[in-house]
Each structure stands twice: as C-alpha cells, then as structure tokens.
Symmetry: C2
C-alpha cells in the first residue's frame, strides 16, 4: 500500500467534522441558493440540434427532473472555498508544531489564484508570516489582493518547475513551511467542510428527503475529495466531479477511464482554477468508485453558457471554474440520462458547488464581448 | 391645491402597509446584505486627486463612517422592484373594477424595461390579458422576457409621443386599462413596500439603533416617493435620492434647485432605467423637504466604478441604474461631509436600495471591455 493509500484511509467524515470545529469562527456559512428558472431549464430536454457536434449527437435527449441547490462558495471569504483548507492547514500546523516555531518560520505556497489569497488571509489572521510565490503574469488584482492581506509576494515563471525552484530558494532563506494548495490531508479536510454545511442547509430546507447528489469542480481535487470523504458513509448521496475538456483539462476523467492518474496537463481552459492535474492523495479518494461515482467533462462553450445563466438569471457572480458542475447538469446527456433513469418523475435533488467568484468585469467582457 | 397635491396627502405609511398586505404572497422578501469591504472603502476618505475635475476639487476630502445595508431588489422577481408596484396596481384594479371587467378589457403599458416584465408577470399570475408597447429598439432579451410571461408585445418608436400614440391605438381596439410605470398612487404604494421590508430586516439585524438614512435611485420617482412615504412619520430615518448627471439626467436634482419640476429629459445615460423625468405625483413627495432631504447626482464613471465594486467584491449582479445610491455614498463629497458631520465617530447606518439586476454579460462587456 502506498503512503497515499494509507493517508486516504484516515480521510473520514469524523475528520471533516473535526476540521469544521476548528475553522468555523474563520469562515462564512455561505448560502445555499435555489433558482426556479435554472430548475426549469435543467429539467427541459435539450433540443436534438443542441447535441449536434457533441458525443451525444443523434441520441434522443434525456428528460431528467432537477431541483438544484447552489452552495455559494463564490460568496465565501476571499471569494472561494480555498479559505476552508488554508485556515485548517494553518491551525493544524500551529497545533502540531507550536506557535513559536510556526510564527518564527512562516508559511509559503505557490499559487496564481485563490489559494494564494486564502493562505495570505489565514496567515494574517493568525499572525504568521506568509510568502506567496506567484507567476509574474498573474493578474494585478490577484497580486494586489494577496498583498492586501499582508503577505509577501515573490514572483516566478509560470511553469511548475519554475515556481518550485523559487519556493525552494525562499525556503532556504526563511525556512518557511510549505502549505500545498490541494494535495494534502489537512487541506482536503478543510475543503470537505463545504459538504457538511450544505447537507445541514439542505436538511433545514427540505424535510423528509435526502440529497440525491452533489457535484463539484475537479482541479487539483481537494474540494471533490473532501466532499466525497464527508459523504462516504452516506451512500444515498452520490458525489460527482466536473472538469473542463479543453486541451485535455479533463485529466481526472481520462485517468479514471484508463485506470491510472494522468500526471501532467497543459491547458489554457477558461476555467483557470482547473488547469492542474489531480493530486496523488485526492486521486486515492476520487478513483474510489464507492466515494465518487463519476467525473464528467464540459466544453468551453458549455461553461460560458452556464456562466451566462448564473450571472443573468441568478444575478450572482461566478468565475468560469465555478460552473462546470452546473454545465454537466445542463448539457451532459450521460449525466442527464442517469438522473432521468434513477430519479424518475421525482427527479434528483442535486447540490451544485459554486467554487468561487473571483473574476473581473474586464474578464467577463473578454469572455462575452 | 392641484389634484396631485391632494393625492399626495393620501400617500401615508398606512397606505404602504395596506399595499404590503396585498402583494406579499406575490413578491420575494429580498435579502438585506452587508459587505465589509464596501464599508471600508466608503469609510475611507477619497484622495485629493480623485476630486480633480469634480465640483469638489480643492476640498479636503470628507471622512465619514458608513455601515451600508444593501436592499437587493436585483434579486426580486423579474430582477427589479417594479413587480411590487405592478402587482399592487393590478390587485387594486381587480378590487375596484371587479374581475369580470378587468379580465375582459386587459391592461396596457408602455415600457422598454423592467415595468414591462413586471406587469406581464402580474397579469399572467392574475389571469388578466396584458398588452405591452415596447420600442422597436428594445434589447431582444427584454422582449423575450416580456413575451415569456404571456404578454402581447406591440412595437412602437422610441419617443414618448410615438409610444403613447401606439398605446392609444391599442386601447381603441381593446379598451385595455392603462397601468402607468411610476406616476400613480397604487404604483408608489407598491414600490414603498421595499422600505417596510428593509426597515424590518435592519431591525432584525441591528438592535437598539435606528436606521439613519435610506438612498434610492430616482428615475420616474416611484421608488423614491414610496420609500419616502413609508418613512414620513420616522424623522430619524432620512430619505435621499440619487440620479445620473449625464446629459441632464439629474432632472430631479435640478428641479429641486430651481423650485420647479423639469418636465422633459433627453439623455442616454448608462443608467437606462433613470432616463425619464420625475412624475407629477412623485414630484409632490420628493420636493417635500420633510420627506426627502436631498437628491444627489453622479457621473457615468462613478456609476461604473460602483458597479465594478458590487460585481467584483459583493459578487452580485446589478444594472447601472441600481448603483447610483452607492455611488453617492462613495463619491459625493457633499453627502459624505453630511454623514461625517452628523454621524461623527458613530457614523451612519445607511440602507442603499439596489433597484434591479437586469443586464447581460454582453452589456457588462460593453461597459468595461
């Protein structure tokens, strides 16, 4: 058994509960929203024309019934679920190594996006120095956001080799402790608290029924693995993953088909939070059929269509990565057939995790201008 | 005394309460949101450079303290507060003229925007035929939206003379009853229910303090007049209005300065819901200093800056018209000085009404692309 397989065995619902106890004072209990219009659209069969040019061309469109529940981590602190993992990892570090050591050494990570801001916020809140290695080409708002939490930003090239070299350099000088963005036990447990909250919020709303499914984006896989861990002893609630398909960004889906993790991905999908391959520990969870039933992939156009619906109809701002789960519900005929066949007339109650909302009006303009 | 002055006397808080009793089953109790980031920005003095080229150039920037409470009518049904007035007006019509007459004649209005969809929804809900006269140049999503509620759309030219001619034509054929968009007792009472809700929501949140002020957009003036009516017996809560200044769109502010209502406006401000002059009955309310303390105007750039902050920081979608009140809080030095001087260190708790969220990703792209 590999060390990752061993670590995966400790990923239990109880570990998520424990993480929640620690991070609760530091994170928002983000709302679980519904939207009649989106339910109606998702519960209407696609037109046969809409399937032309997709893998489902020529099929009779499925007719599933959806009631969608959107877990709005786009309204989370720093605009993404990543604060959950960052606070959890840092609180555990302080517990395990003691305040003196952690505050003296500081923490370091490399990220161009939401994890950078999340760790910067957690570190400033807990009075720990933070060093964030960001690619020189990061958008200025993300750099400014990270700095505004008091973190020291150090620039690097864009490839993971270049980033890691700069991390090693800074670590040599500072002895800072690495907090990885997704492939880490404490990060996964933190992200999994999303599931705990949404299950409780669903139960407050809908009595005498169990949630049928949860679908989350899969980038590095921390969120999906955390959510799957939380629901691993509740087989009535199936967990699914969603990825972009552009330029092979669907590494997890392809890995599952091949029975082997895909180790590297080079994609410029608009879902920029999902350009990374699934981490090793996350793969242990996600490739376990009893934990994650399936991973689906959607096209750039489908991501844009889902994003448009959320902005224009729900009136909430999401980043492209956030809506891949919704895009699966709306457009993937395999998934829709599954819901039709299993859910029947009652349909499925599906929680869709909106992972983040960090975009800009210029970026929206570029996508749709 | 003019007939409008007489009608204005019947605009009382009790009339708003009565309206709420009628429309409550048909409207959302939209959330009252807060945003720490926006509070911080609003409570930070502008830089002297930011005042260059504005009427406040050379002044020492004010240092007010704001706690902002956003009444999110962008999350209302059809995406705007307009459903409140439309349902109220139609329910009163049914009460006063009887179901038979109203269902036989139907209702008619002219609007290129939110009132059209609001009346269409109210009419389809209450099983009354609706005829909506829309300018031929209306955006296709608004036309489709109006039709999707079952209303019959009739096209006209864009000027008010052209629109009214088409209304008269359709009325001759159908005998449909006109439901005006803003300058009408029952419309004002409906819009005023926004104030009743936000006051209750504020009280649930903040104990042992009274709301210091409410600021709403002023286009035709129905929303502002309704809100001012509701707070007219609560002098501790001041009511303010906000307008765009572009191409004279600040007709209400200019009218107040001149002591006379401005009757016509021709402006293409990006705040397209605020291109109309204030109605006669609304003017009676808004020009009463005891009801509305002042109306402020903001530039197109200030509207865009406020809109960007709401989309990027609060992650909710608003249309340009919705944020003129926030723009006043952020940028108008006269208003900010007032809050500084009156509120002192405690500052002011200000409710900002976001009037609507009906925009498209393309429109956002055009504004910021």
């Amino acid at each position: 058994m590999t060390s990752h397989a061993v670590a995966a065995q400790s990923l239990t619902p109880a570990a998520i509960q424990a993480a929640y106890g620690l991070i609760k004072p530091h994170v928002h209990r983000t709302p679980l929203l519904t939207c009649q219009t989106l339910d109606t659209i998702a519960s209407t069969p696609q037109s046969p024309e809409a399937l032309v040019g997709t893998p489902f061309e020529g099929q009779t469109p499925a007719h599933p019934q959806f009631r969608l529940f959107f877990k709005c981590e786009n309204l989370q602190r720093i605009g993404a679920f990543k604060v959950r993992g960052a606070f959890h990892a840092l609180l555990r570090l302080l517990e395990e190594r003691g305040e003196d050591e952690v505050k003296q050494r500081g923490v370091i990570t490399h990220s161009s996006g939401n994890h950078a801001q999340a760790l910067a916020l957690a570190a400033s809140t807990l009075h720990v120095p933070a060093y964030i290695v960001m690619p020189r080409i990061s958008t200025s708002s993300k750099i400014a956001g990270t700095r505004s939490y008091g973190a020291e930003v150090i620039f690097s090239g864009s490839t993971s080799v270049e980033r890691e070299a700069v991390v090693a350099e800074v670590q040599e000088k500072t002895n800072a402790i690495l907090v990885p963005p997704y492939d880490h036990f404490n990060i996964i447990c933190g992200q999994g608290t999303t599931a705990l909250e949404l299950e409780a919020q669903y139960a407050e709303r809908v009595e005498s029924k169990t949630l049928d499914a949860v679908i989350t984006p899969v980038g590095g896989g921390g969120l999906n693995a955390g959510v799957a861990t939380y629901f691993s002893d509740k087989p009535q609630t199936r967990v699914f993953g969603a990825e972009p398909s552009f330029e092979g960004a669907d590494d997890c889906r392809r890995g599952l088909q091949a029975g082997q993790r895909v180790e590297a991905v080079t994609t410029l999908t608009i879902a920029d939070g999902l350009r990374t391959p699934v981490g090793l520990l996350n793969w242990e969870v996600i490739s376990n059929k009893e934990k994650v039933e399936g991973v689906f992939a959607v096209s750039e156009e489908q991501i844009k269509a889902a994003m448009r619906l959320v902005l224009e109809r729900m009136k909430v701002v999401v980043e492209p990565s956030a809506v891949v789960g919704l895009a699966v519900c709306l457009f993937d005929e395999d998934f829709r057939r599954r819901v039709e066949q299993d859910g029947g007339e009652k349909g499925w109650d599906v929680a869709v995790v909106f992972s983040g909302g960090n975009t800009t009006v210029e970026a929206i303009g570029k996508l749709f201008g």
